[in-house]
């Protein structure tokens, strides 16, 4: 899979928040085989220096980071956060979130398109967190995005794919664009279902971090994503309403009395 000219082996992108401990986070990242993890920027105290240890841990894992603009509700906030992230993490990659609604954490797609335009023009490689709207997708591609990240369901909800029809339509309309399901995935079966639809990758956090055994769940997701991808490439059968016998009908012996 190529994301902004970078060849990536794993189709699982893992978030780094909400783990029971730093060591469990590190174990989960290793178990997931993820090449990319998401990170954020938050206020740092000169005395406590909480961020420095976290950053050392991530660097030791040897993974690529995708910084986010989580919690930003305006274009200006998101752009400034992206600028700070580029300096700190030394990457042009940015997971662009412009949140529009507090209960669903759904993106403000108008602000998202505007922020994407500004950041793409400034040389960023933008990974926009979006709804599955076809027109929004078009606007983001026009803005310069080369990857799209539609939600499966609201962030942290674990509900899976709320709108399979919309996600199928998005996949069909933009067959050449890398599409990553971002948010809402709760179970490996959700991730497999998205991969079977032809999605290129899955970005998730809570489903692994809040599992009873995060490293084991990370491994389960990695397997499900691999299985879903293999199934997509193998060409799934068409579903139908009525039964169709799989055993040949011709040649069945007549055994009635």
């Amino acid at each position: 899979m190529r994301l902004y000219e970078v060849e990536v082996a794993s189709r699982l992108l893992l978030g780094t928040a909400q783990y029971p401990s730093p060591s469990i986070l590190a174990e989960a990242v290793r178990a997931s085989s993820a090449d990319i993890v998401t990170v954020s920027l938050r206020r740092e105290s000169g005395r406590l220096r909480e961020g420095q240890d976290f950053w050392s841990l991530i660097r030791e894992l040897g993974v690529r980071v995708l910084p986010n603009t989580a919690g930003c509700h305006s274009v200006k906030e998101a752009v400034t956060t992206a600028e700070m992230a580029r300096e700190i993490f030394a990457t042009d990659w940015i997971k662009l979130e412009v949140i529009g609604e507090a209960d669903t954490l759904q993106p403000d797609v108008f602000g998202l398109a505007e922020a994407a335009r500004i950041l793409c023009a400034d040389g960023f490689s933008v990974f926009p967190y979006m709804t599955e709207d076809l027109v929004v997708a078009d606007r983001l591609l026009e803005a310069g995005c080369k990857v799209l990240m539609p939600w499966g369901a609201p962030i942290g909800s674990g509900k899976g794919l709320n709108n399979p029809f919309g996600l199928r339509a998005l996949r069909a309309h933009f067959s050449d664009v890398p599409l990553i399901i971002d948010a809402g995935v709760g179970l490996p079966s959700h991730a497999a279902a998205a991969m079977e639809l032809g999605y290129d990758a899955i970005l998730l956090n809570t489903a692994v971090a809040k599992a009873g055994d995060p490293p084991a769940m990370a491994r389960a997701f990695a397997l499900a994503i691999e299985a879903g991808r293999a199934a997509y490439l193998a060409g799934p059968m068409e579903a139908r309403d009525m039964a169709a016998p799989s055993t040949p009908v011709i040649g069945k012996p007549s055994l009635t009395g």
Partner: protein, 65 residues
């Protein structure tokens, strides 16, 4: 002068952003800065002057989804 640092107002004598970071014990820490909502790159901290009422944000890497 009074400056709001990460949401907390405090008295600070530093004339520049670089001096403020030093005075606030950030020496050696990996941080990024924004002054009054605008990103200030590390290379401009020495020449960025602080003024009464400024709002300074100092951020570092943190867990994220």
């Amino acid at each position: 002068m009074r400056i709001t640092i990460n949401g907390v107002e405090r008295e600070l004598a530093a004339a520049t952003l670089a001096a403020a970071l030093k005075a606030l014990d950030y020496g050696g820490s990996i941080v990024a800065t924004a002054l009054n909502g605008h990103f200030v790159p590390a290379r401009k901290r020495e020449t960025t002057k602080l003024a009464e009422g400024d709002r300074l944000e100092i951020v570092a890497p943190r867990q994220g989804g």
